[in-house]
């Protein structure tokens, strides 16, 4: 737990972030194109209300962050050693699938994600994981394509 009256910078950043978001909403609403005809409640009223609400919440959270931190928060959560590396693997896998799925096809991209995520969670057999990932996604691919009519991108791209 933080000492009373202490300033907690990360939490303050969250509070300020919400205030900034509310400002973005308000500016955006201000720049909506004008509406034609009879309008009972213009398109900007509700966004303004949400912006005001977010701003108020942001101010109060910032105040809490400045005066000892968020209330009722279990502050002692140091994080796990090596957790960041694992999270990086998972993030990398997801990034990879987003960028590659249209290039190398669904099954390979998903298999790659499986291998990366398994690595992030502590597995040390990349080739085996890749094989499991592909073995897992193949039936899903057929199930979705044939059974549910959800077309996924080609199995493997033609040029591979």
């Amino acid at each position: 737990m933080a000492a009373p009256r202490a300033v907690v910078p990360t939490q303050l950043a969250i509070g300020i972030g919400l205030i900034v978001l509310s400002a973005v909403l308000a500016v955006g609403a201000f720049r909506f194109p004008p509406e034609m005809g009879f309008v009972i409640l213009p398109a900007y009223v509700y966004p303004y209300a949400v912006a005001g609400f977010l701003c108020a919440v942001g101010v109060l959270l910032s105040y809490q962050a400045l005066s000892g931190g968020f209330r009722e928060l279990d502050g002692s959560n140091p994080g796990i050693a090596g957790g960041k590396l694992g999270a990086a693997w998972v993030t990398g896998g997801l990034l990879g699938v987003a960028l590659l799925i249209n290039l190398i096809g669904f099954v390979l991209a998903a298999g790659l994600l499986f291998a990366c995520a398994a690595r992030g969670f502590g597995s040390r057999h990349p080739l085996r994981d890749l094989a499991i990932g592909i073995a897992l996604t193949l039936p899903i691919y057929w199930l979705f394509n044939a059974g549910l009519g959800v077309s996924l991108p080609p199995l493997v791209n033609a040029w591979i």
């Binding site: 990360t10 939490q11 919400l18 978001l21 909403l25 955006g28 909506f32 509406e35 309008v39 009972i40 409640l41 213009p42 398109a43 509700y46 966004p47 949400v50 609400f53 977010l54 919440v57 959270l61 968020f70 209330r71 009722e72 928060l73 959560n77 994080g79 796990i80 957790g83 694992g86 999270a87 998972v90 993030t91 896998g93 997801l94 990034l95 699938v97 987003a98 799925i101 998903a110 994600l113 499986f114 291998a115 995520a117 398994a118 992030g120 969670f121 502590g122 597995s123 994981d129 990932g133 897992l136 996604t137 899903i140 979705f144 059974g147 549910l148 009519g149 959800v150 996924l152 991108p153």
Partner: protein, 502 residues
């Protein structure tokens, strides 16, 4: 009674082989994901939403409902044997149930959880059968002003009651409302907050946010902050409950049911609160207070029976506002609403008139599903336990692959996958600082609804804002909202906290 006639009709439709099959698949999947930590009913239904393109609405909704309450059944198994609750609502079960398991009574704990879930689920379904048509008839009189007031009440309850801090709940709600505004405004036709990204003109799918927050966010968070539990798994023992076990369980089941059902049917953000309430009730009423974990006891069976019953009753209870008003009160119910909307079905009072056969088939399937689940869970519990042997890397990697398929399958956009990743990291931040997730989902889904009702109400009143306080029903809901805002404060003053440790 026309309820009985309707129900009979529903049963005849629900008992057809194809619908029975969907119910069975739903219960099976629900139990499985309930048992597996890290994947919950909201996520599963979200991932299966694409089937709405192919499967008929009755079958799909029967399956989704099966997943919803099947997960409540399965969650208890993990809590009792592993002490890692599969679902957040089985957190209290983990307290007493795991303690019982540690003292060689895993069997009776599992039995009281499963039978209690069955009893509670069945009673709650009866209550649903009786009350839902009444609420629907009442709701036929609701106009836009009343709906807007109900939505304001929902916003307030889902953010204020759940979680440790009302303020952080409101922050989550505000973020949800903001996400809900992105895209075309249906009334004015203005594209709002799309930042020039064409994908955003259609708005952000609730599935994408749910999958990002639940699957990706959970996976990253567990890597960063949750150490692996080294604690061993407990052995299964005979499921046989003694006479004393029955005597102590039955009243706890009934109390749990009557706590869970009303809480499920009001927008209080899911099953966490009723389970905690049931637990503290059982602790106060028990004649064996020494057995409770707080007193370093052996684990009290009431502490498993009550909360598990409450848990299931609240899942069924949450179908009342969903079906009759179109208002989801939990994250899973919110995804179910999206499923209805995929079929161009708008849950609400009219649903009982326009799609009576679908509603009653769904209700009948709940009765059947409870029986299926009892059979699936009691004799087959050993089988479910085997699921827990899937290595953690593969389980999590599999969940992420499914998440990717679910999101990508919607409209084949790499942008959606990037957005899912970004929302996942936002979810990590939210969990790190204890911001509740349910208000985000509810806010983004109900926000646009609220704006529409607000517009309709104001066009009826010709721009007079006092309509919300002069119409009696609307004023009543507004007053209730005020009460919800004050109650946590009052509870806090009396020293009552909705926390697991006290």
């Amino acid at each position: 009674m026309d309820i009985l006639a309707n129900l009979a009709m529903g049963f005849s439709a629900a008992l057809t082989p194809i619908n029975l099959m969907w119910g069975f698949v739903g219960c099976l999947l629900g139990t499985a994901i309930g048992v597996l930590p890290g994947i919950g009913p909201a996520l599963t239904v979200a991932l299966l939403l694409p089937i709405t393109a192919k499967v008929d609405p009755t079958g799909a909704l029967i399956m989704f409902a099966g997943i919803y309450y099947g997960a409540q059944f399965g969650g208890s198994t993990t809590s009792i044997l592993l002490n890692t609750p599969g679902e957040s609502s089985s957190m209290v079960t983990a307290l007493e149930g795991n303690l019982m398991a540690r003292n060689g009574r895993a069997g009776p704990a599992l039995a009281t959880a499963a039978i209690g879930s069955f009893v509670a689920g069945t009673i709650a379904t009866i209550l649903l059968t009786l009350f839902a048509p009444l609420v629907a008839r009442l709701a036929l009189n609701f106009g836009p002003a009343e709906y807007f007031a109900i939505l304001v009440l929902s916003f307030t309850t889902v953010s204020a009651v759940l979680g440790a801090s009302m303020l952080r709940g409101f922050a989550s709600l505000g973020i949800g409302l903001t996400i809900g505004m992105i895209g075309l405004d249906s009334t004015s036709g203005i594209a709002r907050y799309t930042l020039g990204v064409p994908e955003l003109v259609d708005g952000i799918e609730v599935v994408l946010v749910a999958v990002g927050l639940f699957a990706v966010g959970e996976a990253l968070y567990s890597l960063l902050y949750q150490s692996e539990q080294a604690e061993g798994r407990h052995r299964l023992t005979s499921l046989w409950m003694t006479r004393a076990d029955w005597k102590r369980s039955v009243p706890a089941w009934l109390r749990g049911t009557f706590i869970g059902f009303p809480f499920g049917s009001i927008p209080a953000g899911g099953a966490e609160i009723p389970t905690f309430l049931s637990y503290s009730t059982e602790r106060k009423l028990s004649r064996y207070p020494k057995e409770f974990s707080a007193n370093k006891g052996q684990g009290a069976i009431e502490g498993v029976a009550g909360p598990e019953a409450a848990n299931n009753a609240s899942a069924t209870g949450s179908l009342v506002p969903l079906l009759t008003l179109g208002i989801p009160t939990s994250a899973t119910a919110a995804i179910l609403l999206a499923a209805f909307q995929n079929y161009n079905l708008q849950p609400g009072p009219m649903l009982f008139e326009t799609s009576a056969d679908l509603v009653w088939t769904l209700v009948a399937s709940l009765y059947i599903g409870n029986v299926i689940l009892l059979v699936l869970n009691l004799p087959l519990v050993g089988l479910w336990v085997k699921l827990l042997q899937i290595p953690r890397p593969y389980l999590n990697a599999g969940i992420l692959v499914f998440a990717t398929i679910g999101v990508y399958g919607m409209r084949h956009s790499s942008f959606d996958l990037l957005l899912m990743l970004a929302i996942g990291w936002a979810g990590v931040l939210m969990r790190r600082f204890d911001f509740p997730v349910a208000p985000v989902i509810v806010g983004m889904l109900l926000g646009p609804m609220a704006e529409k009702q607000l517009r309709n109400a104001l066009s009826i009143s010709e721009g007079d804002w006092t309509i919300f306080f002069t119409q009696p029903i609307s004023a009543f809901f507004m007053a209730l909202t005020l009460l919800v805002l004050l109650v946590p404060y009052l509870l806090h003053k009396r020293g009552i906290k909705l926390h697991e440790d006290d």
